[in-house]
């Protein structure tokens, strides 16, 4: 069973609020990712990191930002939430080097009202 945790699981927040979605893994993985998934749609990569102090944007443009100060922690922040940010956000991690599977957290379902 994968040891990657996301909090909160569900979040309902008002427009304009700043939010941080937490993601932590205890597997010592260097690679971490954030995906966004709308109902019935594909997962899209929005951010990734290859290690501490390494962050890059993915294929899908996102107004969110990420940081990687510690190997095990990869939080995602929205400075000013809008209804268009309503979605499910999934965090994942994988080992560095070669072709290895990604392990996913349970996800955070965000609703901005």
């Amino acid at each position: 069973e994968a040891d990657i945790y996301q909090t909160p699981r569900y979040l309902v927040i008002g427009t304009g609020k700043k939010i941080t979605l937490e993601c932590s893994q205890t597997m010592g993985h260097d690679k971490m990712y954030w995906y966004q998934q709308d109902p019935g749609m594909e997962l899209h990569l929005i951010h990734y990191s290859y290690g501490v102090n390494s962050t890059e944007k993915g294929d899908l443009s996102s107004e969110s930002t990420v940081s990687r100060i510690r190997t095990e922690h990869f939080p995602l922040t929205l400075e000013s939430a809008r209804p268009s940010h309503t979605s499910q956000y999934l965090c994942a991690s994988s080992e560095y080097g070669g072709l290895t599977e990604a392990f996913f957290g349970q996800g955070t379902r965000l609703t901005v009202v």
Binding site: M41, E42, Y48, K57, G58, D59, A92, G107
Partner: protein, 113 residues
Amino acid sequence: EDQVTQSPEALRLQEGESSSLNCSYTVSGLRGLFWYRQDPGKGPEFLFTLYSAGEEKEKERLKATLTKKESFLHITAPKPEDSATYLCAVQVRTRGGADGLTFGKGTHLIIQP
């Protein structure tokens, strides 16, 4: 542009009725193809990785195969607990050199007792 197409979108089977799910892909340089299972409200759970055409992998009632253009997930004598959305994903190089996954929309499988 890299594309992953899964069919059918939804499939309803009777318990014990075998079938196959399809994943066709158009990518520039496939590094690997992954199958995941996703239950409602949860993150994807890893099932298989396939690296090259002709490769096959099995796990309980599931068997994954790969050709140069598509992959099949065969499910033999399914049980109700096999009900889930099955996701196909390919690993390619995204802009900036990321090796995040490109996902299909998934096949929603329902196994009726």
